[in-house]
Amino acid sequence: MGDSAAGVTTRGRPSEIDFALIGHQESWRAAADVLAVLRGAQRTPLPDDEIKDLLPWIPPRAVCHVEAASIAGRTACGLYIESFIPPDRLEPAYVCENLARVRGAAAYAIEAGAKIVSLGGFSSILIEGNFDQLPERGDTVFTTGNTLTVALIVQGIRKMCALEGRDIESSTLLIVGATGDVGSGCARCLAPLVRHVLLNARNKERLHRLAAELQADGVDVEIATDLREFSAEADVVICAASLASPSLLLGRIAPNAIVCDAGYPKNLSPRAEMRGAKVFFGGLGQITGGMRFAPDFRGVLNRHPFPDVVHGCLLEGMALALERRFEAFSQGRGFITPERVEEIETIAARHGIYLAPLYNGDGPVERHSVICSSGHFDCAACA
């Protein structure tokens, strides 16, 4: 593992592919970095215009091998499969093209013999309501990975509240993208814990359905398709909308609100003005047993300021592979319950997969973290 792509002529695959991760890059910079690794350090990097010309033509395929290690001593071998969705084509206008790419990536994973496939970013958004659009699957199972994403968002909110000395029980929680699989899962987990819940999404009918479900459990819920219509200011916010680019302006929220940007691509617009808001990127976990790529894509496919940090949706497949539990844990939309979240948290923790250190675009948000010898912050395994 870890060999340079430049020297590769033929690289044998592991005899068994436990998991496959289907993803795409959220920016042209990230896409350029991926191609630069493949091209090798000794070759001139491709100019930006060449990358934009070339990338849309690349059929979905594996980019590298991934090995995940559990603190329980197990390892799982997998493939990272890039769907090569161009970063500027995430808008609804390209949905058919992108679905075809995800289908192509899924077919590739099946052909490679992957036992479980996690769908990252837009891949899961495209498929979560359309599992019947996946190719004939054989023994391969697919998970959107959304349950672990929800678990990590909820853990992040709790941790941030603790760090900031906030009482979550007296909070007003706003969820943007509330009717999506991740948003509704967060609502089910957090609504019983807070004082008041504001649900925002584009689809009014789905909002009503979710509100009714929560109200039946005694939750105080308000819904709106327009963020300006809410009667109260939120002091805890989860942004889990499916946006093609970071373009969300939250408008009126409480000063010093805790804001979790859990989107991929990120939801919050760089122009968003949020006085004193404590923003962090949510839904990220750290695999403390370590992760290796061949070729070495460390920091390229997982562009985070900490090692071995991965989006929850992808980590779910890795956790299930380490558990040798090859099942479609997360499928469809709106089925994520607190019980399922707890179950996947337990599985993940058994293999050393925990909430990643919190950070945002400016860097880490935890000032008093401890780094273990492997570079992990507040490493539960070492502790």
């Binding site: 792509a5 430049a6 590769v8 002529t9 033929t10 690289r11 695959r13 191609l35 493949l38 091209r39 090798g40 070759r43 491709l46 100019p47 060449e50 010309d53 070339l54 849309p56 033509w57 690349i58 059929p59 979905p60 395929r61 594996a62 980019v63 590298c64 091998h65 493939l79 161009p86 084509r89 206008a93 390209y94 093209e97 679905l99 075809a100 790419r101 995800v102 289908r103 192509g104 990536a105 899924a106 077919a107 590739y108 052909e111 490679a112 190719p135 070729p295």
Partner: protein
């Protein structure tokens, strides 16, 4: 490995009706150069198959190679006819610098009596380029010109299918040896093809276009050099997938090509 999943097309709409494209004769100088490249490629393929027939021990294989050579000559003739229909004489130059390098690469396989190497060069590499670029041209070229490009693209694709069975069987005998051979030939042939397919010809005239380089003018007929290159490389990757070479390996090969 084939990667099904429907048509994955970059969303650039090049498809236009005949009316929108205007008449072929209006853009005749552009089609003249496009046809010249196609005729040159077909004649080179005919020469390659003829050379291949000379190293075949099996009479059936020899007959097959000669038949292919004849088919490729037929393609060249059909392209020439299309040129005359729009009033141009599409010349050819199999000795042009890039095409000569491709021919030389093939002849090295012939010199080694490497039947499999010959198939890899002709069927996997050169035909991928032909199938993809003819299909793209077929979409936008008006009338019978477009139809001819599309028809020949489909016929060339059948050649690839024919060779695929032989090559897959060969790969099954010794995967590592086979993949190493493909990579060696890739470095030789695809490097030249990548230079041919570059968006601009920076290293001088290609010696096939009748005056200046046709690439910048392709936009006038709703094509682009980048599109032809992208489609060709995609076809190549898919053909390598069908051979069974891991996609992560072939992706590395393609991304390392010169631009």
């Amino acid at each position: 490995m084939n990667t099904p999943g429907g048509n994955i097309e970059p969303v650039i709409s090049f498809g236009r009706s005949l009316m929108e494209c205007g008449s072929a004769s209006l853009n005749a100088p552009i089609w003249q150069d496009v046809l010249a490249q196609a005729i040159t490629g077909e004649l080179l393929a005919a020469m390659n198959y003829t050379s291949l027939s000379e190293i075949c021990d099996d009479p059936a294989e020899m007959a097959d190679a000669l038949e292919h050579a004849e088919i490729e000559r037929g393609h060249a003739a059909r392209f020439a006819v299309e040129g005359r229909k729009i009033g141009v004489d599409a010349a050819n130059n199999v000795g042009a610098k890039h095409w000569k390098r491709l021919r030389d690469a093939f002849l090295r396989c012939i010199a080694e009596r490497d039947f499999i190497g010959c198939l890899i060069v002709q069927e996997i590499m050169l035909e991928s380029f032909a199938v993809a670029s003819y299909a793209r041209v077929g979409r936008v070229a008006p009338g019978s010109l477009g139809k001819t490009f599309s028809t020949i693209a489909a016929e060339e694709e059948e050649h690839v299918d024919h060779a695929m069975a032989i090559l897959r069987a060969e790969r099954a005998l010794d995967v590592q040896r086979f993949d190493d051979k493909v990579y060696r030939l890739h470095l030789d042939v695809m490097t030249t093809l990548a230079q041919m397919l570059a968006k601009e010809c920076k290293d001088g005239h290609c010696e096939v276009c009748h005056s200046s380089c046709v690439k910048p003018a392709l936009f006038d007929v709703s094509l682009s050099a980048a599109e032809l290159r992208g489609a060709s490389l995609r076809q190549y990757l898919k053909t390598l997938d069908m051979l069974g070479i891991p996609g992560e390996v072939t992706l590395t090969w393609v991304t390392q090509l010169p631009v």
